[in-house]
Symmetry: C2
Subunit: 346 residues, 2 copies
């Protein structure tokens, strides 16, 4: 079928050991033999059998990447970055979508073990209770992505959610808002909790005690935010600003505002976690918290490669906390449609 190293050896009239030495440059081989082997490789069209090599070497040169959904632009961007960094280091990437489903995730975790990925980069969907047996079963270095698992200290690359959200909310407060609503994500995820914490911190710092009705729960998907937003927007008095805890929920929120015929920012100011290309093209542009997606992916791979290189695994977990930036656009203005504050708005 496909030529093997044996075929090359036969064609060059040498042993397989010599072909291997030439192909990998692992040993000195005399000039004439090198030429003959090189020639035989070209002639046969030989490509080393990666699977056989993996078996012998005990390394697959593969990284596993489990995200909740690659169509979420945040994960798309991170995945792209992970793949770039991985390929640069000679690793390929196997991608899975857990859909925030712990059962599906269990299947994929098992898949990664069977395939003997050299390391796993993973945005976990569950909390510590879901991963009772994880420590025992997983052998490959594992780097958490975007989220941490409370009670399981592990390597992780996350963003400073508390600070980022606090700043965004304080921006709204600075514009004069007092009734600021929050649409949260799934409550067992560290990101949701931290973003909620940032909201509370900001409000408390300005002696605001928001009604609990202003904090409504979504599930990080567009639809949930749409429903939540409809409830919020029908409240009396209506909140003057709403913050969505991620990009998809921002979409749902905007849709609800559009449906009710409310004007933004005159009737309601909007901001959200996660930036995305189209955010600046909305009218008005959407104020967002932009995560450093490239840096996040690159950092995750960096830690993964470091762990692969380490013989022992007795190291302290490394938690890289990345910094986001608040991108001010036109969707936030003074409450009640007052005169817009100075500053560039898109």
């Amino acid at each position: 079928m496909m030529p093997t190293i044996k075929d090359v050896a036969r064609a060059a009239g040498v042993s397989v050991a010599t072909v291997s030495a030439v192909a990998n440059g692992t040993k000195y081989v005399s000039e004439p033999l090198v030429r003959r082997v090189r020639h035989a490789i070209d002639a046969t069209g030989y490509q080393p059998h990666g699977v056989a090599r993996s078996l012998k070497n005990g390394t697959t040169q593969t990284l596993g990447l489990i995200v909740t959904d690659i169509t979420n632009p945040f994960f798309t961007a991170v995945a792209r970055s992970v793949e770039d960094a991985a390929h640069l280091a000679g690793y390929a990437v196997v991608l899975c979508n857990s859909d925030e489903d712990v059962e599906k995730e269990r299947v994929y975790l098992q898949l990664m073990r069977r395939r003997r990925v050299d390391a796993l980069i993973w945005a976990p969907a569950g909390d510590v209770a879901s991963y009772k047996d994880f420590r025992a079963s997983q052998r490959a270095p594992t780097i958490l992505l975007d989220r941490q698992i409370a009670g399981m200290p592990m390597d992780a690359v996350v963003v400073d959610n508390v600070r980022a959200t606090r700043e965004a909310i304080e921006h709204l407060i600075g514009l004069g808002h007092r009734r600021i609503a929050l649409i949260t994500g799934l409550p067992h995820l560290s990101t949701s909790r931290e973003r909620l914490q940032g909201y509370r911190d900001a409000m408390a710092a300005h002696a605001l005690k928001p009604s609990t009705r202003l904090v409504v729960q979504g599930n990080f998907r567009s639809e949930s935010a749409h429903d939540a937003a409809l409830r919020l927007l029908h409240m009396d008095p209506r909140p003057t600003a709403v913050f969505a805890s991620n990009n998809l929920m921002a979409i749902g929120l905007l849709r609800a505002i559009r449906e009710l015929g409310l004007r933004c920012p005159e009737d309601i100011s909007v901001a959200a976690f996660d930036d995305f290309e189209e955010a600046s093209l909305f009218t008005p542009g959407l104020t967002t918290i932009a995560q450093p997606t490239i840096a996040i992916g690159a950092k995750a791979v960096e830690i993964a490669l470091k762990r692969i290189g380490e013989r022992d695994d007795g190291h302290l977990p490394e938690v890289a906390k990345m910094q986001s930036v608040l991108r001010l656009r036109g969707s936030c203005g003074p409450p009640g449609g007052g005169p817009p504050r100075a500053g560039k708005r898109i």
Copy 2:
């Protein structure tokens, strides 16, 4: 290190053959032995070594997927669909981004061969000249995605670009437009050529002979369309409508319109190939051609699996031509800001 089938065999007091038979259900094994083996598997935490299995079986249960850029929402959606379908059939997916770069692509094609993927799903970046030696070197079944390579009949899943574009342009003509501009993609790609063809067909069918200046070339990236659009919008007389040949270029086009302070659709109507979630949230909503991304990905996997199952490879190429739908939104109106036609606009 990790338990092997040998460890399980020892623990259960049977031979490795029996463990294999139990694990795979490939042979009858007596009830008591099955129990002992099952128990030993649990006790040891054994997970079959996928690499060794691949070597023996000659199949990796892996599909290669090469797209130009996963951050392009079209490819994101298709990739998601490919992965769903692949996983359902027990295959994993290795993902690569060629960035429309034939050199990078060559590296990835080689990677796929080394890794012995069972089939390859591939959006090629080059034309036939770039793939002179492809036929000889590639062994795995290969399904082209989104684009075909003129002069290389191969399995492919594409969309009916000519018809889709013709319909969109005819929609504009129907609104009264005569000076309709087109921003094309990279000229060597079948998608660009077919979309251009659809534009020409539509114009010709209505006895319109568009100035060649109305057809400007982009490269499928946002920036190129932005520049192209600036040139178009400064023309005198200005085109009354612009069609962008893909989603990213639609973004660049909209940005340019925004920068020049033009109103859409009063000053200029806009439509584009590729739908995306945010398209309906723009003001006005963007009229787009929505490709059936889920169906495209699923079909590609379907053909791939079929080919994997076939012993011989003497089959005629299968070209699946999928149908898109034109999503009418508010970005297209009568030229010169006339009264909007009847019908729902978002």
